[in-house]
């Protein structure tokens, strides 16, 4: 019995000694983007008691995979509301997974919105359009939350830009999002061009678009795409650029 008491006391001493090391490791892991998921009451409500227990025990990712498959089943049944609830749970469990945010946004803004517009059970076209726009906003919300959780990745900025361009026809927003995406590590070169194309359609941002596209035009003689050249020529006219500053290229 005495030895057991001594062992517990030694364990407590070890607990004191290890605490600074554990806290520093915890901080280092969080700084590296690890252990970032908040296991709180919000998650508890989304995944239920058993799911929360599984998440607490270190099985977040298998649980997220399971719920994602559930969401696929909901998709097959076109249960859009259930899908959104499952996507909320999955993205809460795995907020660092870009794929989940991106696919959730795509399902809502493209699939659910189209289904809402073609919903034959809703006779009012105005209401169908309103429902469609709600799904657009839901898709945008996923991407914006995903970006908050993964600000260093170009991937979700690109998806947000595409959504703003294709669904909201918000060229200013799309241009800014493409621009932000193009400045992040690993971004493909076309994102810079796309930022220029969208900003060119944004009132008041033509000068920024021109400077961006001109810089790309000068930097990459081999990459002078037809759209880049055409957009630059249009901007030159609209901005009244002096003729000696204008580009000479024909569309290559």
């Amino acid at each position: 019995m005495i030895r057991q008491v001594i062992a517990i006391a030694l364990l407590a001493v070890f607990g004191f000694l290890k605490m600074p090391a554990e806290r520093s490791l915890d901080a280092a892991q969080r700084q590296s983007g690890l252990r970032g998921t908040a296991l709180n009451l919000d998650l508890r409500e989304k995944v239920g008691q058993l799911g929360f227990l599984a998440a607490l025990s270190g099985f977040r990712s298998p649980l997220a995979a399971f719920l994602w498959i559930e969401a696929q089943n909901a998709w097959e049944q076109t249960e859009w509301g259930r899908m959104a609830a499952l996507f909320d749970a999955v993205t809460t469990l795995q907020p660092r997974s870009l794929l989940y945010w991106d696919m959730a946004a795509w399902h809502m803004a493209w699939n659910a919105s189209t289904a809402a517009l073609q919903d034959t059970s809703q006779p009012s076209e105005a209401l169908r359009i309103r429902n469609q726009r709600q799904y657009f906003r839901l898709g945008r919300d996923y991407l914006e939350r995903g970006i908050k959780n993964n600000p260093e990745s170009f991937f979700l900025y690109r998806s947000l830009a595409v959504l703003l361009r294709d669904k909201f026809e918000d060229h200013c927003g799309a241009g800014e999002a493409f621009l932000k995406a193009s400045q992040l590590p690993g971004a493909p070169a076309y994102l810079g061009r796309f930022a220029g194309y969208e900003l060119a359609k944004c009132p008041g941002r033509e000068r920024a678009a021109y400077e961006l596209l001109k810089a790309l035009y000068d930097a990459e003689p081999g990459g002078r795409k037809p759209t880049l050249v055409t957009t630059l020529k249009e901007l030159e006219k609209r901005l009244d650029v002096p003729s000696w500053q204008r580009i000479n290229s024909k569309v290559e």
Partner: protein
């Protein structure tokens, strides 16, 4: 002399464990769980690979932890029941050597188990990758300039360098759990009691960091709540430190220094639990 004794006990322990049905049952379940992920509903290839990694690494984490606790909990009760412990300790074999041999046996078994599951995981992932690559080549047959980026996207979605440290951390966590279970079994009265306590410690260990921060932040809480969280923070291991695979699957890289610190912390825990086991077991009446 002692190292030879440790090696002999470790080898015998390993052989005994490999012969136990529990090893094969857990192994078959683990391999089925990993292997079956290949038959999952056809999703996009990124989704499919994400699911595959989620399920496989999750299964590896569950089954290695399960094996570590179940196999270790049985050591002392079994040796006492079969009286092999008395035969062994009647010879000039110190008690800590016996425990060290047992612990090394399970550590080797866990390494083999992790290796087998990793091999199956790698095989399943590799086969799916080849299949998707072949499909991509066929689909982009008419657009050769698009082919290279598409193939690169498939490759980027399958293997990444962080999977290896992720698997090593799953292994070191299972070793820690084995040492912890060994410590519990030195004062436990039955293997069932050991398993139950080890399982409870497993769950509490995942909340330890929350309790620690609650305690250290000095928020306005009652003295007895403070006492409980201090108890949890001091006596239980922080198992959340070893739960990095969820983030690894999501693509978060593990910096080398963080990996090495986590890995070393696992072995420090193991050494401390082993020392405490030896302390308690040295005074145990047999």
């Amino acid at each position: 002399m002692m190292s030879v004794q440790v090696a002999v006990i470790a080898r015998n322990t390993f052989t005994e464990l490999v012969r136990q049905k529990i090893f094969y049952i857990i192994l078959v379940f683990a391999l089925c769980a990993i292997g079956s992920s290949v038959f999952m509903a056809r999703l996009t290839f990124q989704e499919e690979f994400q699911m595959l990694k989620d399920v496989c690494l999750g299964a590896m984490s569950v089954f290695t932890s399960l094996l570590a606790i179940l196999a270790t909990a049985n050591f002392l009760p079994k040796d006492l029941e079969e009286r092999t412990l008395y035969n062994l300790l009647s010879k000039p074999v110190p008690r800590f050597v016996y425990l060290l041999g047992k612990l090394l046996g399970i550590i080797v078994l866990l390494a083999l188990f992790t290796l087998l599951m990793s091999a199956v995981f790698g095989l399943v992932l590799g086969l799916r990758e080849q299949s998707v690559l072949a499909q991509t080549r066929a689909e982009f047959h008419d657009a050769p300039e698009e082919l290279m980026p598409a193939l690169a996207a498939v490759k980027a979605a399958t293997f990444n360098a962080n999977l290896l440290p992720g698997i090593l951390i799953i292994y070191v966590k299972s070793v820690l759990l084995a040492a912890l279970t060994l410590f519990i079994s030195t004062f436990a009265t039955s293997s069932l009691f050991t398993v139950m306590i080890a399982a409870a410690v497993y769950f509490i260990g995942h909340l330890q960091s929350t309790a620690r921060e609650y305690w250290l932040q000095g928020v306005d809480i009652k003295w007895w709540t403070r006492l409980i969280v201090a108890f949890v923070a001091l006596l239980f291991p922080d198992l959340q430190s070893f739960n990095l695979t969820d983030d690894v699957i999501a693509g978060a890289p593990i910096p080398l220094s963080t990996f090495l610190e986590t890995f070393a912390l696992g072995w420090v825990y193991t050494a401390v639990y082993f020392a405490l086991s030896a302390l308690v077991f040295a005074g145990r009446e047999l």
